[in-house]
Symmetry: C2
Subunit: 324 residues, 2 copies
């Protein structure tokens, strides 16, 4: 492997001069700079990021914490993060927490040991001891002191309830996401505000996870506990799809006998028949903007807003009854 010594030798300058040139710190004469550049090209020299990291006390690595990589919402979010970080010259260390708090702490420790320049996290958790490292929450809100990019959950809850209300619901069931996640609570508040305004009765079905296993379980519980249900607001698309499948399996006509709306707009929601109506969160954009915000923090640039709230959008598809 080519080292900095080889470059110095070929350029006829000292190692310290090459180091200053590479790290753009301190004075390097124009002549020397040109010689070094030529030598670097000729030797196809790639300065080790590890050495650079130690020298500059920060690396070109950024940690990314995801709650569940198998839910397609998060790969989309990750893609957004990755595209922006690539543009900015950073690379991602992946931490897939799988809704496991202990794993989260392990990852945060590993991120710090690898001297990451910043962290992006889509996990609600104990990150309060990271004050020294630039940190941005994705798809989550914590305190007003933290940096975050998330969808407007309250508005999403309102949109979902208004849409369901238009399809003459007689028995509404609202699946509530994990209570520990603030977004779930906000969505619930939004939906309930609509039901109260429109004098609609509703039932709640509490779920403890956004994952696949929970979705299957909830789809069975739903029809056992509420056999007359004719309208469902699902906690996410994975749950919405599981309920759609279970309804069709039971011979329930969708949307005539049961209308369903999901949350997130994962690609699969368009790939089923009838296609799943949903409240779209801009996953890719959320990742991209979160990464952009983190870059500004890492590079000490001025920040307009610590918390960026992205608009959500109704996707009117085939699981909704028409307005009568």
């Amino acid at each position: 492997m080519t080292t900095i010594k080889d470059v110095a030798k070929l350029a006829g300058v000292s190692v310290a001069t090459v180091s200053r040139a590479i790290n753009q710190s301190g004075y390097v004469g124009v002549d020397s700079a040109q010689k070094i550049e030529k030598a670097i090209k000729k030797l196809d020299f790639h300065p080790s990021e590890v050495a650079r990291s130690l020298y500059q006390k920060k690396s070109k690595l950024v940690g990314l914490l995801l709650p569940d990589i198998s839910n397609p919402f998060f790969p989309l979010l990750a893609k957004g993060v990755e595209d922006k970080m690539n543009e900015a010259g950073y690379h991602l260390i992946l931490g897939n927490v799988q809704e496991d708090m202990a794993k989260e702490q392990d990852y945060l420790k590993a991120f710090m040991q690898n001297n990451v320049a910043g962290i992006l996290s889509a996990v609600d958790g104990g990150t309060s001891n990271l004050k020294e490292i630039p940190f941005v929450l994705l798809d989550r809100v914590a305190t007003k002191k933290e940096y975050a990019v998330h969808g407007n959950d309250f508005e999403g809850g309102i949109l979902a309830a208004k849409t369901i209300a238009e399809g003459s619901p007689k028995e509404i069931v609202l699946l509530v996401g994990p209570k520990s996640i603030k977004g779930s609570v906000e969505r619930l508040k939004g939906s309930v505000s609509v039901f109260k305004e429109e004098n609609l009765t509703y039932q709640l079905l509490q779920t403890d996870s956004f994952q696949f296993d929970s979705a299957k379980k909830a789809s069975l519980e739903l029809f056992e506990q509420f056999p007359k249900v004719d309208s469902v607001i699902a906690s996410n698309d994975v749950h919405g799809l599981a309920i759609l499948k279970e309804a069709l399996r039971r011979g329930i006509k969708v949307p005539e006998e049961l209308q369903i709306i999901g949350y997130d707009d994962i690609p699969f929601s368009q790939m089923v028949y009838p296609s799943l109506a949903t409240i779209a969160q801009p996953a890719y954009e959320m990742g991209y903007k979160g990464a952009e915000l983190l870059c500004r923090i890492m590079e000490n640039q001025p920040i307009d807003k610590k918390i960026i709230q992205l608009p959500v959008l109704l996707k009117q598809r085939e699981t909704l009854r028409k307005k009568e």
Copy 2:
């Protein structure tokens, strides 16, 4: 932040001694070792991975290249990789190539600059210049010289064709995956061998990607080019699901008028109605075993097999016609 100097001071030994103790290289007296251990605990000292990486000339980071993180097959694979790597104390730098060759080269360069201890790649591509870094291919076969863990594609092709043959097919269409991917070619060979043996005629529909956009396009092309198709072997589950949706949208009865079999067994294949029959590849196991193999290479342990071929499995679901 606590440094190695703080530990040395509290333990009453030299920095070099602490360094030897941490890196388990060279002699450290029993007394000193105990004092160092106590000091490390008391100060809650975490040796910087960056410093350790530079010292040991290798890091605890491993690069993971994926072709398309939005296809749920790959997050499952990544989960398997991650679980094994976590056990072994490594962390992953993620590279999502999105079927883009230039991005692949950028990631490989970044992996090397970050001094990764090894690389896992589920991407077919130009990795021949990485001879010095331990390298394992996932879900791909290249040359017999390389390390790889992959499913038995030829057998998968045979299984898919035999299954379709049992449902009295009159017009079979086989979607062929990208030609550049050896697995696609192997599956095609396997299926064709069955069709020849059973004297069945078949049509081919070439696709150039395994991604979502390609799936939607292929599902439209399929019914335009082959309006009488009654049996489809899809190149992967994403394509199988797109075809299922398009068939239902057109009022085609599945499986009575059209039977479909996919490939991979992503979680969503069970979440549609009728559920998609498929050839299951053990994605999680593939990732886990690939990571295991890489660990053995990185740690210079003896290797039984350079190429591990995992069995595939038929998932008999609702998109298949019964044997007559």
